[in-house]
Assembly symmetry: C2
Homo-oligomer: 273 residues x 2
């Protein structure tokens, strides 16, 4: 079958954007479209320009034997800001305040459209060029962590809170979670991480940082190096967290159960040292 340029273009865009950060060789496309290398090279040049002109991320060519072309998702600062502002408006609905001052957020953070956007934002601001895994802890952070892993083309690892007989021998640690001040367990099968890996931690919410600190401790047990940390929301108080060098997209400044006030705002510069 022969294809027109517009058809090849459309298909290349679809394949690249469905598989972020995955390298496709030129031969993959020449075979698929029954076309010459020079033709495909020209197609890819056009695709590159489309992505650049419309701020849809970046298409890069990798030289050498293992070379080819891949798509790096990157959301523009402007689009990020619009998305995060809209998300804050949704979060700041007084009806979201639950007894005890907790926030009902699962309809938002489980939403595939929202979680995939959050994943792409993490992929735009966390350097994952050397990362081997995305690591999260069950349950609420899983959707955004999976979408981050998808955007970065990395495998996802999920830390459990109880050891499962069905996952083989595992490493456990205990930690103190900030929100309910009780000692909890986290556990991960031995097979889940290769020795000496580099990982990025993702979680939905951080108050004191106890959970992320526990995740760091567990990673140390696997001789894994934490090279990045991202949370969707961190609270402004306590100011001192148990972890450093994390990216927090939003800041929870106030929850007043009696007055029915929630104040969550986008973090100005994301990165907190």
């Amino acid at each position: 079958m022969k294809f027109k340029r517009t058809e090849r273009m459309g298909a290349i865009v679809k394949i690249l954007s469905d598989n972020p950060n995955k390298v496709f060789t030129l031969s993959f496309f020449t075979e698929k479209f029954n076309a010459a290398k020079s033709t495909i090279s020209e197609d890819i040049l056009v695709v590159k320009n489309v992505f650049e002109k419309l701020n849809l991320g970046k298409v890069v060519t990798i030289a050498g034997a293992a070379g080819g072309v891949k798509y790096i998702p990157k959301i523009s600062d402007e689009d990020n800001e619009i998305f995060l502002k809209e998300l804050c408006e949704k979060i700041n609905e007084p009806s979201r305040i639950l007894a005890g001052g907790f926030l009902y957020l699962i309809d938002l953070i489980y939403n595939p459209e929202i979680s995939s956007k959050i994943g792409k934002i993490f992929a735009s601001y966390i350097d994952y060029s050397e990362a081997d895994y995305i690591v999260t802890i069950e349950t609420k952070g899983i959707p955004m962590a999976l979408m981050t892993a998808k955007a970065m083309n990395l495998p996802l690892v999920i830390i459990r809170k109880d050891t499962k007989v069905s996952e083989g021998s595992s490493l456990n640690i205990t930690y103190m979670s900030g929100s309910n001040k009780i000692v909890q367990t986290m556990t991960l099968p031995r097979k889940a991480l290769k020795e000496g890996s580099k990982v990025i931690l993702i979680d939905d919410f951080m108050r004191g940082g106890g959970t992320l600190r526990g995740m760091e401790d567990l990673m140390a047990e696997f001789n894994a190096q934490v090279i990045g940390k991202g949370v969707l929301i961190s609270t402004s108080s306590p100011k001192e967290k148990l972890v450093k060098d994390y990216i927090s997209l939003l800041e929870l400044k106030e929850v007043d159960e009696k007055k029915g006030i929630i104040k969550v705002e986008p973090n100005k510069d994301f990165i907190i040292n």
Copy 2:
């Protein structure tokens, strides 16, 4: 800014395929590309043909006031078969057998590339035209359920095994899980589902069907109607499950811990009545 046809095409493909089942109006595109309606209509016709010719799913036009264009992901039977066969080959590695005859599968089912493919397959075989939610239970089914929700453009609901103080008042049921024959709890916040919803249940693994049956019971508490059920793997024994009318992509025929044999195969016709 003005755009060439190839540029508009590329961008339209990207936008549609990033947002399955989401309707975009013609005006959305005419504004974005500063182009006439007739021009955009022609672009969309070309996009339709590309998707059809290359088996990338379907682009459909919706008439009327709320009209526009949307992309319906659909993987061809042939591609499904190839993918599921390859997945079975990976699963059938003897090193995956754990003590007790359990299978180590989390590296596969947490993988974003694999889980997104599974989601698209569920979206190709389960009728979701009337569905309001995808519902799963923590933890292992979450990645594939989220990707199913993404492909169907539906919100995801995650049933928890313990009540969380941080999610508000909830409905709980007890159920008997087939694999460990103990009474367990499942729980869902009252706010998680609208009264009278239609839902599709997704889970990773089914032996006796106790978990899915429990999910059905919980849905009944919400007056929700279960209109579809999908699992990745079901076991061939017991043949009689506690639920009917489900789609199972793979069948686990045998696990022999001593001999180191696993036999998982694609289900011939998916749908089991």
